[in-house]
């Protein structure tokens, strides 16, 4: 009968790898499976657990682990580099758009939403490429692509309305809110899936945080979406929703920074909800760009 290591030993292996510089969850999980399999093999041949432990770790030098961790980090960074780049570009252009009044600010805002759309497309491609890993990835790819189309076309309509006085019947805002709803659903389902796949306690705990934050975002997105058909009734109370979304974004960002939890998908969701909400918030009045004209013409 094959010897099987206990949960406590697996955790101990992960902790040992952590002390040797392997901190990435996925890499730690893969290498711990390697060492655990090696230990089990040796224990099958009659070695005690402690002897197998020493022997398995003796085969692995600290330098080798360091190189493996560095290279893995490099691969991950290059995978997400373009997404992070466009996310920063999007945020930067959006921030610049607050500094100049129309039309320069408006063009900067248009470009920032286009950059955000590109980030969604890159995410969609990443999911599409890994569609064979999990069937749900195809759904996430479609959801991300749909969000890209909705948010870009939504702001493009707003732009046409403000810049060229085209009557878009407020559909620009509708599309952007729909994009918020679609992407919040994608992110929430993604973290639910990730939690199901997590085996370690720390992995599940981390996912619980993301499920909580993305769940709140999804709830706010549903409320925003529901406000559309009942706009005449909701218009009096919409400021509550705007402040709630901005407050949730701020609290999420602070908590994630304090807990040093980073995730590209969650950061995209935060930026999307922030950008969509901020252009309709009274906060913009305090910035050099002044009161945004779109707040007067959202629903003509």
């Amino acid at each position: 009968m094959t010897m099987k290591l206990s949960d406590a030993t697996i955790l101990r292996i992960k902790q040992e790898l952590g002390t040797q510089g392997i901190n990435n969850r996925y890499l730690q999980s893969e290498l711990s499976d390697h060492i655990a399999s090696d230990m089990e093999q040796m224990m099958d041949q009659g070695l005690g657990e402690e002897e197998a432990w020493s022997s398995a770790f003796a085969k692995t030098s600290g330098i080798e682990l360091e190189v493996t961790a560095k290279q893995y980090g490099g691969i991950l960074n290059s995978r997400f580099f373009r997404m992070k780049f466009f996310l920063w570009i999007s945020f930067g252009l959006f921030a610049i758009s607050w500094l100049f009044s129309s039309p320069a600010g408006l063009y900067a805002a248009l470009l920032s939403f286009m950059a955000l759309g590109l980030t969604f497309i890159l995410l969609s491609v990443d999911f599409f490429r890994s569609r064979k890993h999990h069937a749900a990835n195809m759904g996430f790819a479609i959801g991300s692509l749909l969000s890209a189309l909705l948010v870009s076309s939504g702001f493009a309509l707003l732009f046409l309305m403000i810049r060229f006085h085209l009557n878009t019947r407020g559909h620009g805002v509708d599309l952007m809110i729909f994009s918020y709803l679609v992407f919040a659903s994608v992110v929430f389902l993604y973290f639910l899936r990730q939690r199901r796949l997590s085996i370690s306690r720390e992995g599940k705990q981390k996912m619980n945080w993301f499920i909580l934050f993305s769940g709140i975002q999804l709830l706010l997105a549903i409320l925003s979406f529901l406000s559309l058909p009942f706009y005449a009734w909701a218009v009096e109370h919409i400021w509550i929703l705007i402040w709630a979304i901005l407050a949730v974004n701020l609290v999420s960002l602070i908590l994630l920074l304090i807990r040093r939890i980073r995730n590209i998908m969650f950061m995209i969701l935060l930026l999307l909800s922030f950008m969509i909400t901020f252009i309709h918030s009274p906060l913009r009045r305090f910035l050099p760009a002044g009161k945004p004209p779109i707040s007067q013409t959202i629903h003509p």
Partner: protein, 111 residues
């Protein structure tokens, strides 16, 4: 036992060869299989094998699936369509290289 320096450049073709023989393998399984098939002469260390596997995954030549096995996650590697093409080409190249080396060594001993 063959030295690390000699094995270093051979890991990629070895991984390709293993995955051409068996469709889906996890890291430790590759190490074990190489060790057994070479009568213990070639040992792939963890620090040598995984950087190669991750590079091949990043370049789209290997795809991965994660599965819960007992109380842990296991990552399986499979050749992609692109990877299979490269694997066939690289293993053929390796085969020629081994033949050439054999000739060279054989010639050397005759002289």
């Amino acid at each position: 036992m063959i030295g690390k320096e000699l094995i270093k450049g051979m890991i990629k073709p070895i991984v390709f060869q293993m995955l051409l023989k068996k469709e889906r393998m996890y890291g430790y399984e590759i190490t074990r299989s190489v060790l057994e098939n070479t009568s213990g002469k070639i040992t792939l260390t963890l620090g040598a094998l995984y950087p190669v596997l991750h590079k091949l995954e990043a370049s789209g030549e290997l795809s991965t699936t994660a599965e819960a096995v007992d109380n842990r996650l296991r990552k399986y590697y499979t050749l992609t369509k692109k990877g299979r093409k490269t694997a066939v080409q690289k293993t053929e190249e390796m085969s020629d290289f081994i033949d050439a080396l054999y000739l060279l060594w054989h010639q050397h001993t005759n002289e």
